[in-house]
Symmetry: C2
Subunit: 389 residues, 2 copies
Amino acid sequence: MPASPIRKLVPFAEQATRKGIHIHYLNIGQPDIKTPPAILQAIKDTQIDVLAYSHSAGNYHYREKLTHYYKRLGIEISADEIIVTTGGSEAILFAMMTCLDPGDEVLIPEPCYANYLGFAAEAGIQVKPVPSSIETGFALPDREAFEQAIGPRTRAMLICNPNNPTGHVYSIDELRVVEDICREHQLFLFSDEAYREFCYEGSHYSALNLSSIREQVILLDTISKRYSACGARIGALISHHQEVIASALKYAQARLSPPTLEQIGAAAALDLPPDYFDATRKTYLQRRNTLVQLLNEMPGVFCPMPQGAFYAMARLPVKNADDFCQWMLESFSYEGETVMMAPGAGFYATPGLGLQEVRIAYVLEESSLIRAMKCLKLALEQYPDRCSR
Amino acid sequence: MPASPIRKLVPFAEQATRKGIHIHYLNIGQPDIKTPPAILQAIKDTQIDVLAYSHSAGNYHYREKLTHYYKRLGIEISADEIIVTTGGSEAILFAMMTCLDPGDEVLIPEPCYANYLGFAAEAGIQVKPVPSSIETGFALPDREAFEQAIGPRTRAMLICNPNNPTGHVYSIDELRVVEDICREHQLFLFSDEAYREFCYEGSHYSALNLSSIREQVILLDTISKRYSACGARIGALISHHQEVIASALKYAQARLSPPTLEQIGAAAALDLPPDYFDATRKTYLQRRNTLVQLLNEMPGVFCPMPQGAFYAMARLPVKNADDFCQWMLESFSYEGETVMMAPGAGFYATPGLGLQEVRIAYVLEESSLIRAMKCLKLALEQYPDRCSR
């Protein structure tokens, strides 16, 4: 089981905090945006005597309301095609365990959400990474690269759209390539759309609407980022494939049920007005623009413009970003402040890739982001192992 | 992945309900006891703006308070030896994945909690069942039976104490046998003590206090039954073995965190007075006595006296309890009522065992239990496939 690259620097951060240094946490996708009060209020208003298990697939009332949320987005599904999961995390694990046998392979464009690698290890399946490049803004790798990676045990492809960690939003043309590959090679398509509300240019196209592979698509979702409710642990696995749902339900039944109260909160969130996301999206957009501009102004730094989510992958003029991120916590501060970032290598399955990259989550208000970038700029100037590209 | 024996009759129950039949649900361990209002109140009183991830191992505050709970029970552990899990379910899965490799074996006395078999399948490990017998009240199988089941890939034993589904509470002598086996064969001991508060004769002895295998014991726990808070999804994995905790933490980090609000509720429950459980224990004791007496009064029925938890395993004069339980939902009613029970075979890993047995959870008030037993008695009289033993 690989260690989380996002959390493995935590001991160094704790040490810095004990020294009195203020850390700008840009390492983890924990939004600072307020959770809609309606979610918390619905939980507080709940009148129950017994905090009982819910249905293993989630409360029917919540699933029914979810269908209306998806319908507004142009996605037609029924409540029976939804399994409410304990966070998006569990949806990923259920999808892997349901659709693949141990030893089977899943194609994943890299860099990718690091925990995909952990869940694949748990499910006993092999990740076949297909590298995307910072030079192309982490666009979908060429079709040929996928074809070359496909072997007799390849059963699925996993994409994250908008992408964590790159912020790339797959265009409809890119999704057509994905559709063609999955159709021709009979692959399941796991589509993690946790960040769909956060697209800053153009609109989001859901994999569930790729009609020629309708039954092969498994949508992985979560309320964590959408409603800044990471601690609620409410996600969903959605598929038109009845056998997939029936099989995933067995995993759901083994763990009994997702949290009861948070399903009530999540259902309440679905009554928020459709323009609820406008303000949050505007906030992230502004932060993104500021962050990417400041990064690209630093000598030797390159950060392609992300189109969605709230992450940016930047290449730094250092030999090893792992060492650099640790050094920033251990040995650097500017006016009592430093920055925590997620080293890029942990988002790649291929050893040796991403060594110069970091993932930055723009989950702090703009003034803090500006301070953080000031720290980063000075740190890069002072860092002993700086290198030019 | 095996289907849950507890839930697979649900469609037949739904059908009966649609026909207007009232079902006494004795099939699932969902207590009817009120959740302590302090748990729900603490959640309602929580003032937060952002429902954020907690620490992957659980809030430190909650873990710290848990150490005092265990200390009162005579179990000495530190907060760093606890990983808060999403229900006891996740603790079971984490223990298996942490301590065993795919293909390794775990010894489990059967009948056992059916989902152990599901989690073992998820972890890719083999269950080596060691049968206990209804004739001995499901006492620990003989040492020889365990020895015979141990092979070169056997790495662990899993016990549930008090036992689900049998209600058996392991005596200190039985636990010494378990200790000896685990010590001599270098096995991890997974001890599921979800029902420790519900012992009706004598006291409970925790496996964590088996001093000669101190580092080999993994305690699996949950607040679900203790506080009638099944829907909270808060459990714990506890071990003195530092490497086990470090490895389990990686699994915990991959899924980010257990639910945030419920940890606040669970922490509040720890302030309940120590005599809080007395009333609940008394309620269950009274129900147990009534239930077991009524069962044993039915011709051909045998139910040994359970000493703990809130389950009884009974042998019925039927060829196949699966069919009988389904028949009770599909084709039987008495004054508009019927009963749902969990067929026994699903609690055995050995095919062909437990076919005449059912698990009955006494999670209804006594008057309902009496009505339910009236139904069962009449159903057994009318059932076409009745057989004598």
